[in-house]
Symmetry: D2
Subunit: 435 residues, 4 copies
């Protein structure tokens, strides 16, 4: 999660006011609409719950993304705007300290009011004011707000992904195993054997350049030196991870980082999150309900520690984020995204090429890199600057987007980040090794 | 909460089968209906939440009381009965270890499914089967099940009270201060000065005798010796408790039990639960929303420790449960019960008499007595015996019922019990002292 | 632990000043000397440690009992007295809030200084001033301080007992199993079968009367009504408790109080504290080191919950404290006390009589009574009043003294108390039942 | 803490057996002796305590370093060696999972036995066997064990540093403020103004090359690209940190990393560890007791989060570990080390030069780099490989050694690491910024 590179984006806005405003309004409507599409399978009760502190109720998500447009656009740029409810800023701020006090994160699931209907009314209210506002603004204002609108769009896309992973977690603990949307069958052949793609040592450029929206943590573009390395030509599968389990991977202390071993012991981990053994057969809970484990799918819902232990067991390591980005730079952005509405990683269905497959979509790929600022990193000024930089401690970078990410949201330079023990996102990995 | 005294109740059942069955069915419908009346002000979202581990979602309450009839009546006596859903016994058992595993109590608020509609369907299903069953049974069965039905009725009444106190707690943490039902004005004159009623030393009989339903912890009737004592002629009011606060009661360590002082420090208590000072004026959250504090109402939502500290400050003590029962025995069971639909204690509106006022209704009265078995106490056999006895450690007895109790649920021998730090029930107190 | 009944004791002091002072000085020296005798087997390191928050380092005990005489005698009555070290009152106060701030109890084991030698120097300093002071006082002062001296003596005796139980706990967790003092063999015949002694229903007097020192919680003497009851004629043995274990006592939920079952689950209890199974044989750690379990010894180091579960398993119950005191009143105070220097309960070695055996010494006997004030209870005024009353919540009464108690410290009216989960004192039990 | 680069070290061992063995024995004796010198100011009690889980009792340290030689040298290479005590390996293993079970780290302060005398006897026993063993070995064995001996030496030096910081922490919580060794006055002039030293962008070599002992995390030498940067020409002082405090640094959320702000709130941080304000004057606890704060000394005992917040406040950042190493490579290894026996950082006493001052000694310098493996990193095989790699998550790298480090222990490539919240080591920092 990150902050806009202001200068870049401003330079890239088109000259004709009406086009630009039209585009903003159109984008706004499309993105807001997709959020609501994701809610279609839910009943009122599903919007309320928060099954662990890391997840948020769907109700909160759909209010919070509206709060974002209200707070950073309407309240700052539309002098006629009035709050629908004076308590909502307190309830729907996430962590912007400079934007005022907020309701405790871990207690978001303790509020029955405002109701789901109230929250949809709030969305309508914000939408109406936003669209009126966009109709009325002049060219200069359009220029000025485009960076903020872009953040608002990307921010809502990030919450669309969280809505899916949070709903999944909330449903997963329920002994009734609710189905979010039914399984769509995917045909595929045999998964190709794991192979390696080699990259030469040298000075590479990393980080964003050129036009287009980015978060602030992707800049500035800078040079890194990479020693010669190889990347696995595809993601690790459930079948491969099963071998690790069957070889006693979860019992072999020496395979694990010290904090990873603590997590295994404390949480009793014996398999990825959502895996369940019933009468000798492995199942996993998915957004399509409890399904028998498909060994050909990329493994997902593993922590950094599990990915790292697997890599050590396999005689390899995880790639650094620089290595991943070097490999991703020449590749088209295509893969199993939320646009395809699988809501789950799918098996690889193409023969090996000279390039690594599955770099985008399916699962966020854990890298070996702690999340740190790039040389010359500058957070954006103001409240919106509290977006990325303040989380740069004790987290690992993930790359490439997942089956819950919008295709137009991801880039080769995009840096996602989570603590090493997190598992509820669609997290998987590929291997790396020295050449 | 307690267990049926079998022999007593069996002896008291009427001779004519049809009357008895008719009465059972009528009682069943009345009690079940009142549960649903209590839910009328709620929207779907309100049924789901659990704002602290001690409270349960309304959805859970209305399912659990149905589970009780399903488990102890239908499954044991109606051979044709089939479960509506195999998972419900697991989800809706409370703490009956011998009735099987159960969903963790503190996690009851994490489940969106079964939905509220599902749970009402479950109620209908159980109701239908119960009424069919009651229509078909013969006289012997009617005799046999009457004690169980009585427990079921009383059990549901207990949960009616918990529903109100749990909804109140759930609403109270919400910055929107939801109103359950609007305030009904109560007219009253000046509260009479606190006076004392004296009782002679001697051997008294305590505990239940005669016919009628009781919980097992009210038996057997036995003798106690009471030294001469006096009871205050009414409950302590908000106004009197305010004096305690203004005199620094919450800061004076020596007024407190050691565990009470710990609770004050740990929780930052400075007033009863739900009291709130806004711009120098005291308010309290009630089921009618946030209202200015009425100094004439009996104080409520205080812990045992606060009641005990107040008593010490006032140069008095709390009555023992035996003293309370001695005083209550000759009095009619009347007071501010849930039947009056105030959902809150009301000011005393009668002149002093030779007897203590407000013994029933308004607030459960903390006594100085730890909750222990009476001499010769026998828990009922079977699962239903897990009702009272196993809680006989580290709890205090409360007497007299509250504004959330049904009038026909309370008796002079009725023993309620809670840990000393509990505050979310309608708990208040009166004073006692040596003569 | 308790507070002096002032009026009683003052009335009982002898007429001749010199005798009285002589007695005070002699008692002082005897009691102070025994504290140091108990330390003889220790090396410096043993004085420092605190293996759990409930225990205190020996160093702290021997300083705290000196602080008691310094604070309540020397500082109040000897105007020439100067503190040896200004920090000691802060370090060695236990819980007397009104006597000033104090070092956190759980952190007593984190201080290397003052050293053991410093603390002995402090003892000498206090002793010297106390004896000088006692030499100089006039008759009136002697009269006035006798009650405080008596508390000081009894207080130090209580800490002598705690020193032994705390050293035992501290040693017990050490894989080297240190020996405090070697085992003294005890000869005995076959333990008599468990029998019962019956007592008639009626009004009894309970609590202290007559002369002599008591703690404030033993007064006032008052009347109770006891229904007919029976007491077991001896303590429960290790052998009997072993049957409970072998019958699956620790796995049968229905035998346990709810809080007891929680304690079993949380702590993984499967036997009394200090029991250890090595290669199929049961041992227990004692102050004489790790010894094979002697089935004839009274069982000890069980919690209230284990005693209560055993009683339920055996079809009986624990006695109330009133029942215990009724039985104890006619009996001589004799038994296995610390005066005998066994530091462990010993097998019963006498044939059954008309009276219950082992009422005194060996183990403190858990009673079914929560610890509550007697009717008319008054704590002593001033700091010293913080001794008993403030602990009257969520504790159970134990009676009769143990193998770590001084014979001249115990009485039929003596009320010890601990939370239901405590096990590190020498705690055991006998059974009761209705007649 | 790190593991030997085997190949490098083996290549560097001298040809003449007797010299090599003589050197090993001499080094052994010197290093073992310094450990004991550090203990000279301690009394027995000081060896026992553990005032927080991160620190260890001195007794444990001096036993553990002996266990290291016993386990990795004597037990593996001296067939005649017998354990002095079978329990010691269990008690004195630190975290080598592959070397067997071990006593819980947080409970090291709960053991009075083995006594301090026992532990010194154990040291003597190991020393005697080590020196006998070194006398008898042949040339091949000498070659083979030299890498292990080097680890043993460096390992003991690391524990010497920990002994000092742990004793400091243990003493610091004691209201008596014990003095470890008295203050040695240091004369110095005015501290030079903070200036900057610039470094060009380019590819640099980082990590160890050449002969000599290293830990495994310092290898392999590899290339990194550094953009142009500047380093402050000296450490930040107490005076400068005081300005940060006086400017409200601890209250300004936006200066802090999210985890840093949590730490400030949770722990109530308002100044570096050991700072204390008494009657308006700032003091800090040092190994020479409580001293008035010297504004010219380098600030120490700050967490990564405090260093990072200060840097942000100052408009700068912390250097990466690569930047630090680039700057350190040409500099001589000199500074305020434990060899000088100040046991505390001292004010800078030299005029500015073209190079940054105080790069070595005084305080470990926090870098902005999370602790991660170098490209091509290989942990050593066997138990000894559990030394560095398994800690490579959620820690930050510190560089340069401190006033508690031996001069011959430190190198430009040396990588120390601690979690961001740690403060009890001698931790300080310098600033960096883009050119």
């Amino acid at each position: 999660m990150t902050l806009l590179n202001m200068s870049k984006v401003e330079a890239s806005t088109p000259a004709h006011r009406s086009d630009q405003v039209f585009t903003l309004a159109q984008q706004y409507q499309q993105i807001r609409q997709f959020t609501e599409e994701l809610c279609e399978p839910l009943v009122t009760e599903d919007y309320i719950i928060q099954a662990m502190p890391d997840v948020s109720p769907t109700k909160w998500h759909i209010a919070h993304v509206s709060w974002f447009f209200e707070t950073f656009l309407l309240r700052d740029y539309d002098p006629s705007y009035k709050l629908l409810n004076e308590t909502y800023p307190y309830l729907f701020n996430s962590y912007y300290v400079s934007a005022g006090n907020r309701w405790t994160r871990a207690n978001r699931g303790l509020l029955s009011r405002p109701t789901v209907a109230d929250v949809y009314q709030y969305r309508r209210y914000v939408d109406e004011h936003m669209l009126n506002f966009l109709e009325k603004i002049d060219e200069d204002t359009a220029q000025e707000i485009t960076p903020l609108m872009d953040i608002g769009f990307n921010h809502e896309q990030q919450h669309q992904e969280l809505m899916l992973t949070d709903i999944k977690y909330n449903f997963s603990i329920n002994p009734l195993y609710p189905v979010y949307r039914p399984y769509k069958t995917v045909k595929h052949g045999r998964i190709p054997t794991l192979g390696w793609v080699a990259y030469e040592a040298g000075v590479y450029h990393i980080g964003h350049h050129g036009d287009g929206f980015i978060f602030d943590n992707e800049a500035p573009r800078h040079r890194v030196f990479a020693e010669r390395f190889q990347l696995s030509n595809r993601l690790i599968t459930n079948g491969e991870f099963m071998e690790f389990i069957q070889d006693g991977g979860y019992e072999k202390t020496l395979l694990w980082l010290s904090m990873g071993w603590d997590a295994v012991q404390t949480n009793g981990w014996q398999a990825p999150l959502y895996w369940e053994k019933v009468d000798g057969t492995w199942y996993h809970y998915t957004l399509a309900g409890l399904r028998e484990l498909d060994l050909d799918e990329p493994v997902t819902h593993v922590s950094y520690y599990e990915a790292d232990a697997f890599a050590r067991w396999a005689g390899a390591r995880l790639p650094t984020e620089a290595e991943w980005e070097i490999a991703a730079q020449p590749l088209p952005i295509q893969g199993n995204f939320v646009d395809d509405r699988h809501y789950h990683p799918i098996p690889l269905n193409e023969p090996p090429t000279a390039f690594p497959a599955q770099m985008y979509g399916d699962v966020w790929e854990w890298t070996a890199s702690h999340y740190s600022p790039y040389p010359g990193y500058e957070p954006a000024p103001g409240s919106i600057g509290e977006y990325n930089g303040k989380f740069m401690a004790n987290q690992f970078v993930l790359r490439g987007g997942s089956c819950a990410t919008m295709a137009n949201h991801i880039r080769p330079t995009y840096r996602n980040f989570f603590p090493g023990h997190a598992r509820w996102q669609f997290m998987g990995f590929r291997l790396a090794k020295a050449a």
